[in-house]
Symmetry: C2
Subunit: 202 residues, 2 copies
Amino acid sequence: MKKGNLYVVSAPSGCGKGTILAEILKKNTNLFLSVSATTRCPREGEVDGVNYYYISEEEFKSEIESGGMLEYAQYCGNFYGTPKKKVLEKLNKGIDVILEIETIGAMQVKEAMKEAVLIFILPPSVAELRRRLNKRGTEEQEVIDIRVKEAVEEIKRAVNYDYVMMNDELENAINDFEAILKASKLTIENNKNMIGKVLENA
Amino acid sequence: MKKGNLYVVSAPSGCGKGTILAEILKKNTNLFLSVSATTRCPREGEVDGVNYYYISEEEFKSEIESGGMLEYAQYCGNFYGTPKKKVLEKLNKGIDVILEIETIGAMQVKEAMKEAVLIFILPPSVAELRRRLNKRGTEEQEVIDIRVKEAVEEIKRAVNYDYVMMNDELENAINDFEAILKASKLTIENNKNMIGKVLENA
């Protein structure tokens, strides 16, 4: 059976990544969104196994040591990572998997699995990103400053991705994302078997 | 200004390449289909500059010597090739160019222009290809045998392409082709400038 594709999606906070992925997942039933593990406590409304798998630092570290994490990073004193087992299970069943992770983790995944397709979602500009974050009105100016600074660092790492797309207009962004998914299924790396099949009994 | 993309499309006779390209060109106004040059005589109904540029063998050879051909091949005693000048002109104006050429020429283009995107259109099977050629009813069995043999050789070279897509259902094939066009505009190679622009004044 043909293995699924692994997609890694990164975007700074405020780029509409969540909205794009929700639409994509609605339309594509052969896509599985991986759930990350974290050592931070669940926030109100968050559900174990939906938003994150909430595990202890001991469990997390033991997973790292046994090679159970595809990627991980420490952020504000907590660990975040992608449990490898479920991802590989899905891929082996021919299901495509999306990891929604930050840029450092993305580089680890590319290192471990060269065939992973890395997609970076850009804001139209850093100024626009700041405007969007301000508009939410949920955070202090200081926090927004930090987020913008982080965003700039993440955007700089977009050069290491396979695809970059801009979320300027949501509908266009969704179309771009779908084109990347579709085209990445048509690469020669994914279809050497198909050529053999066409030539069968020739 | 951002340069256009160069696409090379190959498919054995009977794979519906012409129909797919006609639809794609209708929908995409920023695409230019390159017209090849040939030393063979125009057939009835063919128009110079539309089907081919009809030139003499002397002219053709002098173009080869002066480096004016992006690729060329000899076939049944005649030369066929892609005049380089027009292609480069369009690319430099930001227009995407499609070359509809056979596999040997495609390899020459990839050699000369690494950034070219090579797309191979497969038939569902060689048996189906034979069926389609028979259905046309315009050719002797012997000629069909030769075409099928050529098709097999061409399909074997599809492993050197960037993308392979199957023309099983026309509508799907057109969608696949469009996804490849769109996604190839979103690769990091084509968008390093965009990252710089997003970061401007950050």
